[in-house]
């Protein structure tokens, strides 16, 4: 495993904690042909940072599902990615219809997807369920007709 201190990464310092990487990525609602490109890019970034394979994998899956959700349901959204020495933090914010019943939406198999989403191979009611499964910490909040906010934390084994 690559040790953090051997990587050519500038460690930025904020008032609260050190982070190795932070960036924001816009997601276009309704643009199905681009769906998955942000998650693919994030995976490359995390791989380049030298994070362990399973952390990269979990993060990529979470981002992919979340991106598909924003593209499928929202007008627009963005992913904030922050990598610290101990965690990968992924925040997804969208402007869209929101989720009236979060508990129901989290259930495996529950979906409101249309035909277009299903033809892509999604909309089987696995998205939020998968995100929850792959997260070490998962928070979701939503307001109908405003949007949805997800915060996911994936722990990384300490490398320093």
């Amino acid at each position: 495993m690559v040790a953090w201190n051997k990587l050519k990464i500038t460690v930025h310092t904020t008032k609260t904690e050190n982070y190795l990487y932070t960036n924001s990525f816009d997601i276009e609602g309704g643009n199905f042909s681009k769906a998955g490109t942000i998650a693919t890019g994030i995976k490359s970034i995390l791989k380049e940072l030298g994070l362990p394979n399973d952390v990269v994998r979990k993060s990529a899956i979470v981002c992919y599902e979340a991106e598909i959700n924003v593209v499928s349901y929202a007008r627009k959204g963005f992913i904030n990615l922050t990598v610290t020495p101990k965690t990968v933090q992924i925040e997804i914010t969208d402007e869209g219809p929101g989720i009236p019943d979060i508990e129901l939406a989290m259930e495996q198999g529950y979906s409101t997807a249309n035909q277009q989403i299903r033809e892509m191979g999604f909309g089987a009611g696995m998205g939020l369920y998968n995100i929850n499964c792959y997260s070490d910490k998962f928070d979701i909040s939503s307001e109908v007709n405003k949007g949805t906010f997800l915060k996911i934390i994936i722990n990384t084994p300490q490398c320093i």
Binding site: T37, A39, T40, K58, A60, Y64, M120, G121, F122, C133
Partner: protein
């Protein structure tokens, strides 16, 4: 087994990745549902699917899938084909149905990338 043998077993056409036929593969995952592929397929596995859009290629890329086997004689959509070429992800097309494809590979030693899912922590 080498990807070349996979091609022979499935009587498949290699439409992307002719130069990667010496790659070793041991495991596979088959599904048409991309969320399940994301949840269960493992790096280095073959992905057996009947879906032909760009999502399949992007997901194969994200999961480091060794090669995509399109079953039932399906052909990738134009955009998907271009993306697979760009990302150098091999695509093989077989006329066998998903069940036959999986069975033919299994008897020759390719196994599932996982045997069973677990109750709650299946994904971890």
């Amino acid at each position: 087994m080498k990807l070349r043998e996979v091609k022979e077993i499935l009587d498949a056409d290699v439409i992307v990745g002719q130069e990667k036929l010496d790659m070793e593969v041991k495991t596979a995952f088959g599904a048409d549902m991309m969320s399940d592929v994301l949840a269960f397929a493992k790096a280095g596995s073959l992905l057996l699917t009947g879906l032909t859009n760009t999502q399949v290629i992007r997901i194969a890329n994200v999961l480091d899938i060794a090669a995509i086997i399109l079953v039932r004689g399906k052909k990738p959509q134009t955009e998907a084909l271009a993306l697979a070429k760009e990302l150098q992800i091999p695509i093989l097309i077989t006329k066998y149905i998903l069940f036959e494809t999986a069975g033919r590979l299994y008897v020759k030693g390719i196994v599932g990338c996982l045997e069973q899912v677990e109750d709650h922590s299946a994904h971890n």
